[in-house]
């Protein structure tokens, strides 16, 4: 997917189509606008070298075939995070036909901060004041003609989700202009800007804007500078920067922003008028408030979890899986495949490889497509809805304190929740975290204690037959272990935790189209990334079975499994398989339980072990890729024995205290 993503991106970058770049703060409705502008073909791809999603779409705008690009939201074009860097780099290296700045009308002050930077860059653009309805309902009116006059560019108002104003926007896209609006900084800074500008190479954006980025201490520009300038020049530039910085006590980046905001306020004072607020969407406002209330927030959290559970694990894992597995695969695909394979390949070895007990078709494909895909797919839909509704950041507010215990902050809840869908993808998403320490911690915790949706589906199936006490013990053990390990690991792993600064968008009704696009992209990722690993895993199992390695490992682990955990020896197989796919392992245990070979205590112990157990092989590969081989091996070396130790301790405690489950 990664490579594929960059190929996509490169292909688009080289394309001769007229490019329209959508740029703006986070949560201003860029994606809704994107959905409106583009029609037939949509692809979400990762920007080269990052996990940041950039959406490309073809459209015919004003009778010209165009490529519309939806960029990640930015608060500043001096990047503070990876996604902001992607957006800035697109401006830096791509020459767009038109740049459309999308601003949230009710948050125009922050929008203007970007407008002024685009003006400094000398990029031709237009300004779209989106969500005009929300602004109006709050009594905020913007004089668009006056604003257009002051900025020297076309300004239009839209309500993207209602299609209003789109015609005017399309017309304006044909006339992007450079804005003469500028900000004058302090004399010492202006001198620095002049000196640095003189040393800079030709670029898509003005030397002045680049010089300001450098002054603001933009680390992310280093790569570009090294590619375009000699080292001697770079150190010269750095010297100028330090010289200017030494004249001020506050960071230059802060002072530059302060100056820009002052200019934005000057503009606002002439174009903005406040009126009596209308009724507006007060229900959404109250939901937003309650969802992060110290008391009401908890039942809301429980309710959200319940809905997700019903949707993903009752409806998705139950009905959809039942239909796909039993009807589609069980009655049609597998029997057909069996017939075709037996007909085409007379050799029993190949037959077994494809359709045997560990067959690539009967086991791997059935498993990947019929069982895991619907669960993961339904999870991605639920996650997309949570994401777009604005609930997830509020969840981060609720759990911030708990996460602080583990040396993290509320932001880490996002990859953790995604981990409930797929740990592999979540490990990739740890890149949204700011410090290396946090990324290592979350990777470890994901691998250790967050069961993925497929595994959770099987686990929930087993738990449902148990008493409430048994479920509580399982859940309590996992949560306690995560807290403890997180706490200890945060003391051991060097580095600083980062600040918790998270913007909370208003609660909104998600746009179906947007959810659809996102889910499609994620399912695509799953099919490309995970399914081949299912095949590989199954193949390893097949070989292991053939050469007797499985039985050998089983014998080897017997004392552990039988002696320490008090489980039947067949459970060892489930743990071995569990490394290839965590959910495979859970499924193995499920079959044992179903066959009446496990008593409730054994079920709880085995569930704890398989939940804590090392993640699937795909996740392990991702850990190696993201954190490096050494860190990944360390984590695995810790988790394997640790999972068994916790299971053993739990088994001992339950048996000694004679707790009947």
């Amino acid at each position: 997917m990664h490579d594929h993503g960059s190929n996509d991106a490169e292909r688009y970058r080289d394309s001769k189509l007229n490019k329209v770049l959508l740029i703006g703060n986070p949560n201003v409705g860029k994606s809704a606008l994107f959905g409106l502008l583009t029609g037939k073909y949509v692809t979400v791809s990762n920007y080269p070298g990052t996990t940041v999603e950039v959406t490309y779409g073809n459209a015919t705008l004003n009778k010209t075939r165009s490529l519309v690009i939806d960029t990640p939201g930015v608060n500043s074009l001096v990047p503070m995070s990876e996604d902001e860097k992607v957006t800035r780099d697109m401006l830096l290296t791509d020459r767009a036909g038109a740049v459309v700045q999308v601003a949230d009308t009710k948050n125009l002050r922050r929008g203007l901060l970007i407008t002024l930077q685009l003006a400094e860059m000398g990029v031709p653009f237009i300004l779209d004041l989106n969500m005009d309805d929300e602004a109006r309902s709050r009594g905020i009116m913007v004089d668009q003609d006056k604003l257009s006059q002051m900025l020297g560019i076309e300004v239009v108002k839209t309500v993207a989700i209602r299609r209003s104003g789109i015609d005017r926007l399309l017309k304006s896209i044909q006339h992007p202009r450079r804005s003469p609006a500028g900000v004058r900084y302090d004399d010492a800074m202006e001198t620095g800007v002049r000196d640095i500008s003189a040393l800079l190479p030709e670029a898509n954006i003005s030397a002045r804007s680049l010089a300001l980025m450098i002054l603001a201490g933009d680390e992310s520009l280093k790569g570009w500078l090294h590619a375009n300038l000699q080292d001697k020049m770079i150190s010269k530039i750095e010297k100028i920067r330090q010289e200017v910085q030494s004249k001020f006590n506050n960071s230059l980046g802060y002072l530059i922003n302060q100056r820009r905001l002052k200019k934005a306020d000057e503009i606002l004072s002439q174009v903005l008028s406040l009126h009596e607020a209308g009724k507006g969407s007060t229900i959404a406002f109250h939901i937003g408030r309650w969802s992060m209330h110290p008391i009401y927030g908890l039942p809301i959290l429980a309710f959200v979890l319940y809905l997700v559970y019903q949707f993903v694990w009752v409806f998705g894992a139950g009905d959809a899986v039942g239909f796909l597995e039993e009807t589609v695969f069980g009655e049609y695909l597998n029997p057909w495949a069996t017939k075709i394979v037996t007909f085409v390949f007379p050799a029993p070895f190949i037959q077994e490889l494809l359709i045997g007990d560990y067959g690539l078709i009967t086991m791997a494909l059935t498993y990947a497509i019929a069982i895991v895909l619907p669960i993961v797919g339904f999870f991605f839909i639920a996650f997309g809805i949570l994401e777009d509704s604005g609930y997830l950041p509020r969840l981060a507010v609720m759990v911030n304190k708990v996460f602080k215990v583990m040396g993290l902050n509320g932001k880490a809840v996002l990859p953790m929740v995604l981990g409930l869908g797929c740990d592999t993808m979540a490990t990739l998403t740890t890149r949204i975290l700011e410090t290396k320490k946090e990324r290592i911690l979350v990777t470890l915790l994901l691998a250790l204690g967050v069961p993925c949706s497929a595994q959770l589906g099987v686990i929930l199936g087993m738990v449902s037959g148990l008493s409430g006490l048994a479920t509580t013990i399982w859940l309590g053990t996992i949560a306690g272990v995560m807290l403890l390990v997180g706490y200890l690991a945060s003391k051991i792993i060097p580095g600083e935790p980062s600040d918790f600064v998270l913007e909370l968008p208003p609660i909104r009704v998600p746009q179906l189209m947007n959810i659809f696009v996102k889910t499609l992209a994620r399912v695509q990722w799953y099919l490309k990334e995970a399914v081949p690993l299912f095949m590989l895993g199954t193949f390893i199992l097949f070989v292991g079975h053939k050469i007797g390695a499985l039985a050998y490992i089983q014998n080897l682990t017997d004392p552990l499994v039988v002696g320490m955990l008090g489980l039947p020896s067949k459970a060892a197989e489930a743990f071995v398989i569990g490394f290839l796919r965590r959910d495979y392992g859970a499924a193995g245990l499920f079959m044992l339980a179903k066959g009446g070979m496990l008593d409730p205590t054994q079920i709880v112990v085995s569930l704890v072990v398989i939940t804590l157990f090392v993640p699937c092989i795909a996740n392990f590969f991702m850990m190696v890729k993201e954190r490096g081989m050494k860190a990944a091996l360390y984590m695995a070396a810790f988790i394997f024995p640790f999972a068994f130790a916790v299971g053993g301790a739990l088994n001992w405690a339950l048996r000694t205290l004679k707790i009947a489950l």
């Binding site: 922050r110 802060y254 600040d499 918790f500």
Partner: protein, 235 residues
Amino acid sequence: MSEHKKIDAIEGKAGHPALCVLPEIEKEDEIFEIIWTLREEGTLTLEQIVQSCSIQECESIVKELARHGWIALKGQSVELLPKGEKRARELVRRHRLSLRMFYDLFALDGAEAEACKFEHILSPEVTDSVCTLLGHPPNSPDGKPIPRGECCAMFKQEMKPLVAPLADLVPGEQAKIVFITPGSHSRLDRLSAMGVVPGSIVKLHQKRPSYVIQLGETMVAVDKDITKEIFVKKV
């Protein structure tokens, strides 16, 4: 006046209160302040004092101070003796508090000159009141620490502070940002891109389970520590 010049004015040429026009009696005070500041920077030597000082007879006054038991002088090494330490501490405290008051609260351009006059007439009681009024600020506008006074330790609340950390607001209260003490640079950069700069109106939305602040139509969840660094004046 530009930002740059304003800060220049606060610092004086070599980062010391050189703009003060000094009556005879206050020359000693300036030297005490210089000694304190140099000690903070870890460059305290007799030579440095003379270099930083705008008074011509500087060296002789230093020697005079040593004779009267304010400081200990041995070759280049200078050390504050207990009574000198106390005097320097109080002086610097008054000076930096005055700066904070003129610069942030009254937003005066000539903050330094005003502060120079003010620091000499503040009585200990008034100094503590000013400190309380400003919410016991930890730094002066140029980022240097303000020596703590008794009022800071006891955290007297009899006088309601005019300027207080954002963290001390009651949820739902609205206030104007007066100054932000420079914590980490990247923190300031990030917050300023969201509109958190002096002059902005900010509302404390809630404190539990996490601090949430609101600027215009933007809501941001932040650590409590950050809200302690943002000083506001109620509106």
